[in-house]
């Protein structure tokens, strides 16, 4: 490879790696949001369960 080819490849590679790094960061943030949603669903279920039990006792 000539120096011109090496530098041109490096320039295009920098853009590709830059965009890839950004996508990886966004993907990790998305993973964190998914875990947060799962945690909030669990919390909502815990809140909802005592109400369900109380309703069952009333009917029972």
């Amino acid at each position: 490879m000539t120096p011109s080819e090496k530098y041109t490849a490096a320039a295009y590679l920098v853009v590709f790696v830059g965009v890839l790094a950004y996508v990886v960061i966004i993907a990790s943030k998305l993973g964190r949001l998914q875990r947060e949603v799962a945690r909030l669903v669990e919390l909502a279920k815990e809140r909802h369960e005592p109400l369900e039990l109380a309703k069952e006792r009333q009917h029972g």
């Binding site: 000539t2 120096p3 041109t8 295009y12 920098v14 950004y22 966004i26 909030l40």
Partner: protein, 227 residues
């Protein structure tokens, strides 16, 4: 832009098609420059990256103005995301420009070049935006301060763009002059496709990041309600 988030797969697909076309044109269609040889092809990504960075900062400033003028509740977040994108595109502009400088001029950086130094000033100015944003507690005061800062920064864009034309001694090539573009038609077509690809990348990444930030804000609200 809210409608744009719902059409994200289409935008992302368009971005992929444009990037494929841009790479194909840059390497197989555009003629090799007689003076610079293969390294001239860096231009097809370097200049669109710089123009996209300007577009990001301009969009961020427009949203900042909307925040101050219309009190649009979404404008502060949109301005922040656009400036964040601008800093990413700006960093890539500096990196590709530096590689081009090394092969063309034999140096990674030249402090004597107004165009380079002014772009660096613009980039550092917007880097400092994040220092301001994260040093103030969230709220209307922070949104106002950030909006004013973003508006000040946009004044640097025409200065940065025109620096190369106002400078008396330069080695940085001038492609766009008042007489038109200084390149062949196939080169100009390739440049236009590359610019469209880069702008579509900005729209795609902007929509993704904005959707993520909005989701994060909604979850924070939900967490507070459940706490």
């Amino acid at each position: 832009m809210k409608a744009l988030s719902s059409r994200l797969p289409v935008v992302a697909g368009g971005c992929l098609v444009l990037f494929t076309a841009a790479l194909a044109l840059a390497f197989f269609y555009a003629p090799t420059d007689a003076n610079q040889g293969l390294s001239q092809r860096i231009f097809y990504f370097h200049v669109p990256l710089a123009f996209t960075a300007y577009a990001c900062f301009g969009w961020g400033a427009w949203k900042a103005l909307r925040h101050l003028w219309k009190r649009d509740p979404e404008a502060d977040l949109e301005s922040y995301v656009a400036i964040h994108q601008g800093v990413i595109f700006g960093a890539l502009t500096l990196a590709t420009g530096s590689i081009w400088a090394k092969i063309s001029w034999g140096v990674w950086w030249s402090w004597g070049e107004d165009q380079l130094v002014l772009f660096l000033v613009l980039f550092l100015f917007y880097c400092a935006y994040f220092m301001l944003r994260y040093s103030v507690d969230p709220g209307p005061q922070r949104a106002n301060m950030c909006a004013v800062y973003a508006l000040f920064g946009v004044a640097l864009i025409p200065v940065s763009f025109l620096a190369i034309r106002l400078s008396k001694s330069f080695i940085h090539p001038v492609v766009f002059t008042s007489h038109g573009y200084n390149m062949t038609n196939p080169q100009f077509l390739t440049f236009c496709v590359c610019l469209a690809a880069m702008l579509s990348l900005f729209v795609t990444l902007y929509s993704i990041e904005l959707a993520g930030k909005r989701l994060d804000a909604s979850l924070r609200e939900l967490r507070e309600l459940l706490a």
